[in-house]
């Protein structure tokens, strides 16, 4: 402990170098925490998924719809307590680049199925009462500066919905109660879209609540069995399995982000290791003098490692703190559609700082070994 002052002193020896190294470590930790938070965002969606909800889609693929009669058939399946359905609208808001999720839903049953969609009682009432009303997530409303009562016009993007524009009135701005729903989507009355569709009476997917999650497997089998060999065969999954699919379709994110993170750590190791080696080399004479005075080799070793740790951890803490502030969904205004909400959480910060400890120690080990093994006679003779 008594050497802490000495460690601080040596770190301050070349202030510019220490600062540059700290910032390098800070940036690496920043990047690492940011990448980590994206992966966590995907994991959070599937973790927050309800075990009681099942999603039924057409077995061929999600893009095909099924007749509304399916919902009634599913409702009568044993073990099912509630049913709702939705369609992907895929409309264009002003420009095709403004991409966000738009779902035509059966309002009452949908809000019952997803208590995570949080509305005030007045908003809910207003939405249910207005056939051309819609509700939008608070993230989406912020992105486009929408207020309650605003008119939003969507141009249909899929031929099924005809070619005329769909005007909507915003009746509610909902908050997302958990990661299972995102706050970047727009929900509106299924009937409004259906009356203009051709063919009519089509639903994209059906969401079912089961009384007991333990029975999910049997219910899934019962539902799919019911439609087997019909023109509209179905595939039912738990909500968790269903949302995991989207993440896996984006490609092998774990591998890609993982290898980038590895490169980040390696390149920072080179920078920090180099600095430590330089710092030790400069102090060759000084270290020899300390050894002559009776400092033990181990003490010298620990001093150098301590310096590496100090620089790396201060840098790491700066980077992690910066990431905590900058990388969150609200600040960035990203996400929506298939990209889940993500933000650096406290756990990412802890892991990031842990990483900086690792960088500090690894970067200092070789220079510290060099310093502790120094031959006093040679070192004293050397003129630096």
């Amino acid at each position: 402990m008594k050497f802490i002052g000495l460690i601080f002193k040596s770190a301050r020896r070349s202030k510019r170098r220490t600062a540059l190294t700290m910032i390098s470590v800070a940036l690496a930790v920043f990047l690492f925490a940011a990448l980590r938070s994206v992966l966590d965002g995907f994991a959070a969606v599937s973790a927050a998924s309800s075990a009681q909800r099942l999603v039924t889609i057409r077995s061929t693929s999600m893009i095909f719809s099924m007749p509304t009669s399916h919902t009634e058939a599913i409702r009568s399946t044993a073990g099912v307590t509630d049913v709702t359905w939705a369609n992907w609208f895929g409309g264009i808001y002003k420009d095709p680049k403004n991409f966000f999720g738009q779902f035509a839903v059966d309002p009452e049953s949908y809000l019952r199925m997803y208590p995570e969609v949080i509305l005030t009682p007045e908003e809910k009432e207003a939405f249910l009462a207005d056939r051309t009303g819609c509700i939008v997530g608070d993230g989406l409303a912020k992105k486009y500066g929408w207020q309650l009562g605003d008119r939003v016009v969507l141009q249909p993007g899929i031929p099924v919905y005809g070619s005329l524009d769909y005007p909507f009135t915003i009746r509610g701005i909902y908050k997302a109660g958990s990661s299972a729903v995102d706050n970047q989507s727009m929900l509106f009355h299924w009937k409004y879209a259906d009356e203009r569709s051709s063919p009519q009476g089509q639903v994209g997917w059906v969401v079912t609540r089961v009384a007991d999650p333990e029975q999910a497997t049997q219910v899934i089998a019962a539902i799919d069995q019911r439609f087997a060999n019909s023109p509209y065969e179905t595939k039912t999954e738990t909500e968790q399995a269903f949302s995991a699919q989207f993440a896996s379709m984006l490609g092998n994110l774990n591998l890609l982000l993982g290898s980038v993170a590895l490169a980040v750590v390696l390149s920072t190791l080179f920078v920090a290791g180099n600095t430590m080696a330089m710092s030790v080399r400069e102090r060759t004479t000084e270290i020899a003098v300390m050894r002559t005075l009776g400092f033990r080799a181990l003490t010298i070793f620990l001093l150098v490692v301590g310096e590496g740790l100090l620089v790396a951890v201060v840098g790491g803490a700066m980077g992690a703190a910066l990431a905590r502030v900058v990388v969150n969904a609200e600040f960035l205004g990203l996400a929506g559609g298939f990209i889940p909400l993500f933000g650096v959480n406290n756990w990412n910060v802890v892991v990031g700082i842990g990483l900086s400890v690792l960088i500090g120690v690894l970067a200092a080990v070789i220079p510290a070994t060099m310093a502790s093994r120094l031959r006093i006679v040679d070192a004293l003779r050397r003129v630096a």
């Binding site: 510019r16 170098r17 540059l20 190294t21 910032i23 390098s24 470590v25 940036l27 690496a28 920043f30 990047l31 077995s59 061929t60 693929s61 999600m62 893009i63 095909f64 895929g90 095709p96 993007g157 899929i158 031929p159 060999n229 023109p231 065969e233 595939k235 995991a244 699919q245 896996s248 379709m249 984006l250 490609g251 092998n252 890609l256 290898s259 980038v260 490169a263 980040v264 390696l266 390149s267 920072t268 080179f270 920078v271 290791g273 180099n274 600095t275 080696a277 330089m278 400069e282 003129v383």
Partner: protein, 388 residues
């Protein structure tokens, strides 16, 4: 110049461990840059390779991709009748009405279902896409429940091998051939007879029609002819331009990600180079004083140290290129946002990309070396010489 560059080169070798560390720091950044950009290039390459300048694709007016387009059956003969459409050996027009739907098949790697594009094609599709080559089996026979599978899809999805049966749309389809298409996106697709696909998926129209033009220059007159025909509410587009547009969304996403990561990484590497160069300058203060006393101007000292830093960085850049090169040709997959399905493609490292990596490393070297070099030039001669 010879003397001084020789001097800088030698001092780099004297301080080899420091120099090596700095170079490696830069090498990692360049490697990440090249690898991520290789993904973006590979993705774009796969889509662009799908389009040919000889071909035109007709979509419904206003449709941005095949999935949201519709072409009515009676419109096909009207399109085929245009003189700009090339004829095959049998005198029939080279036009292929197509329908793209997405089917879900389990992936080989983890067994999870993923979206696979299924293209229903007309009998002339193979004559229009002349890059298509069969590596196994044969073309599908129109009217039979047979499918052909792209080479990239064979390895990625279960049950797509030659001779196996695949079940979708309440029917069983036999894989009778596997084709390659110069790494184009077609290799990720499954092809079947369009006239069987339509009833199987309850569709009553096509989504697009692709025609081979008699000559690439005939496109303009073809476009004009289609525009004046009131029975065709369609918009022809050069096939290559269409596919380039299709790669934009996902391609931009990957490129933004690559830029973001490398920009942050490069700052760290520049700081590393800066540290090294400051140390180099401090270490050689006396030598710099001597050089100045001998009559080397300040500008010469700045350029010399800058050149040293750039040279060091380029060495790192070369190492980075070497590290990144093995990923070239590795295949991977990503979701194509416009078609909502998986597209297999290969990492593509071009000479241009490598050159870009080297220029990038040189810039990092210059950025890191500038301040230390100026500092070197500013050292007062008398004080520098007095230093031990």
């Amino acid at each position: 110049m010879g003397l001084i560059s020789n001097y800088n080169l030698r001092s780099m070798i004297v301080r080899k461990s420091t120099a090596a560390m700095t170079a490696m720091g830069i090498a990692m950044v360049v490697a990440v840059f090249i690898m991520t950009m290789a993904i973006a290039q590979g993705f774009r390459g796969a889509l662009v390779a799908s389009g040919s300048n000889d071909n035109a694709i007709l979509l419904r007016k206003g449709a941005t991709s095949e999935t949201v387009s519709a072409v009515l059956r009676p419109q096909l003969p009207l399109i085929e009748a245009h003189p700009q459409v090339a004829r095959g050996d049998d005198g029939k027009p080279l036009a292929s009405p197509e329908l793209v739907v997405i089917i879900s098949l389990p992936r080989v790697s983890d067994g999870h279902p993923a979206n696979v594009p299924l293209r229903g094609v007309g009998p002339r599709a193979f004559a229009i896409r002349d890059t298509l080559k069969f590596v196994e089996g044969r073309r599908l026979t129109p009217g039979m429940r047979e499918i052909n599978v792209g080479k990239a899809a064979v390895g990625r999805f279960q049950g797509l091998a030659l001779g196996s049966d695949v079940r979708f749309a309440n029917a069983t389809w036999k894989v009778v051939g596997v084709f390659t298409a110069d790494d184009a996106s077609f290799e990720s697709e499954v092809w079947g007879d369009v006239d069987l696909m339509m009833p199987a998926f309850q569709r009553d129209g096509y989504q697009s029609v692709t025609v081979k033009l008699v000559d690439p220059s005939a496109f303009d007159s073809f476009q004009a002819a289609v525009a004046t025909d009131p029975r065709l509410d369609l918009k022809p587009e050069r096939e290559r331009e269409y596919y380039e547009g299709q790669s934009a969304t996902t391609g931009t996403l990957i490129r933004v990600f690559a830029t973001f990561v490398t920009a942050i990484l490069s700052i760290g590497a520049v700081f590393g180079a800066m540290n090294t160069m400051y140390a180099a300058v401090a270490y050689r203060t006396r030598e710099i004083g001597t050089l100045r006393a001998l009559g080397f101007s300040r500008v010469r000292i700045v350029t010399a140290f800058l050149a040293e830093s750039v040279a060091l960085a380029i060495v790192g850049g070369v190492i980075g290129c070497v590290i990144a090169l093995p990923v070239h040709g590795l295949s991977t997959g990503a979701m194509n946002m416009t078609s909502f399905s998986e597209l297999a493609f290969k990492f593509r490292i071009t000479p241009g990309l490598l050159l870009g990596g080297l220029i990038f490393s040189a810039l990092m070297g210059a950025a890191g070396g500038l301040l230390p070099a100026i500092r070197a030039a500013r050292i007062p001669v008398a004080r520098a010489l007095r230093e031990i």
